[in-house]
């Protein structure tokens, strides 16, 4: 270990001295953005439960973060997190997982948690591929990309997961890339403060699997690509579908208030308790 410590190291487990990711992987930038958001908000790690699924991005909170972490089955972190939040509404429950995990096998959980508006903060790390299992096509893979499961180029249209979750009714949805670490941090802070379902999509580089098939190059080439091709939500709204081809629309898509599920359950429980007491007295 080095003698001097990174200031965010106080939020990580002392015995975990290395991340599980490949050199230059965007997961580390997202991990730091999450910890910085927690630090800037002055929150305590003891008040957090981090829930992740299966995939490289699912290794962001566990084993690194010094908090309660649930590393669940593939696609199910939102379902587990829903249970945690309803059982412990006092806790900050954050889901951190990949695009394969949260949009493919776990897509329905994500959509319905947004619809129900349960107070979770979901950080969806979108690297456009199944990184951990060797680079298969994901629902987010760009059209035409040759992957190991689409040797002639994928013929499927990618899913815009942020737009989907906006349509599902989430009160907070934002998208940034790993070339925007400060904006990412700011939106994670807003997501944590939102009483309701918040999703922050982080477009992130997988220089190993996506890099290999896309020939996009090294981690630094990805970041340059993100910088060059991203366009703000407000600017994009004036452009046609053709003009937006290949662009990454970034920004905060929705930020509203609406009644939240776990607090409504608490209110109901309280009300039922009072009714039961009155009944017992009679």
């Amino acid at each position: 270990m080095d003698a001097i410590e990174h200031p965010l190291r106080k939020y990580t487990r002392p015995h975990v001295t290395r991340t599980t990711t490949c050199p230059g992987c965007g997961n580390g930038i997202v991990a730091q953005a999450i910890l910085r958001a927690i630090d800037e908000l002055g929150l305590e790690m003891d008040d957090f439960v981090f829930v992740s699924g299966i995939g490289c991005s699912a290794w962001i909170p566990s084993p690194l973060f010094a908090a309660d972490t649930l590393h669940t089955t593939h696609g199910r972190p939102v379902a587990f997190a829903t249970g945690v939040k309803l059982g412990r509404p006092d806790m900050n429950v954050m889901v951190v997982s990949g695009d394969g995990d949260l949009t493919a096998i776990g897509g329905n959980h994500l959509i319905h948690a947004a619809r129900k508006n349960i107070d979770l903060t979901v950080v969806l790390v979108n690297n456009g591929i199944y990184g951990m299992t060797g680079g298969q096509t994901a629902p987010t893979t760009p059209l035409g990309l040759t992957t190991i499961t689409s040797p002639y180029g994928t013929m499927e249209h990618p899913l815009d997961i942020s737009a989907t979750i906006v349509a599902a009714g989430a009160p907070f949805v934002a998208r940034w890339t790993t070339a925007h670490p400060r904006q990412l941090t700011r939106s994670i802070k807003k997501g944590l403060q939102k009483k309701g379902f918040a999703m922050i999509e982080a477009i992130s580089q997988c220089p190993v699997q996506f890099g290999r098939v896309s020939k996009l190059g090294k981690a630094t080439d990805f970041l340059q690509h993100y910088k060059k091709n991203s366009i703000s939500f407000s600017k994009a709204s004036g452009l046609s579908r053709e003009e937006l081809a290949g662009r990454i629309v970034i920004g905060e898509f929705v930020d509203i208030e609406k009644p939240e599920l776990s607090s409504q359950w608490m209110d109901l429980k309280h009300q039922m308790g009072q009714e039961a007491q009155c009944h017992n007295k009679q």
């Binding site: 001097i4 990711t21 050199p23 965007g26 580390g28 090294k218």
Partner: protein, 78 residues
């Protein structure tokens, strides 16, 4: 004035990562000549003086291997 600290054993190497080198507006990082204990080649800081404390390197390092401190402090051994 700033102090740029490279936590060299956390670094995963400028060959495959090198993000710090690409995000520094003042090009203050260069390859070092010595591998860290994991066999990666960390960057080294050429000159601290031009640093604007923009923190790009610190917030973009995926392995929390860079700390930029605003003022020069005397290093305390831990």
């Amino acid at each position: 004035m700033s102090e740029i600290i490279i936590l060299k054993n956390s670094c995963k190497g400028i060959e495959d990562c090198g993000i710090c080198m690409s995000v520094c507006p003042k090009n203050l990082f260069a390859p070092s000549h010595e591998m860290n204990e994991r066999g990666f080649l960390p960057p080294r800081v050429i000159d601290e003086d031009p640093c604007t404390v923009c923190m790009n390197c610190m917030v973009s390092c995926p392995d929390m291997a860079i700390v930029v401190a605003k003022k020069k402090k005397t290093k305390e051994p831990k």
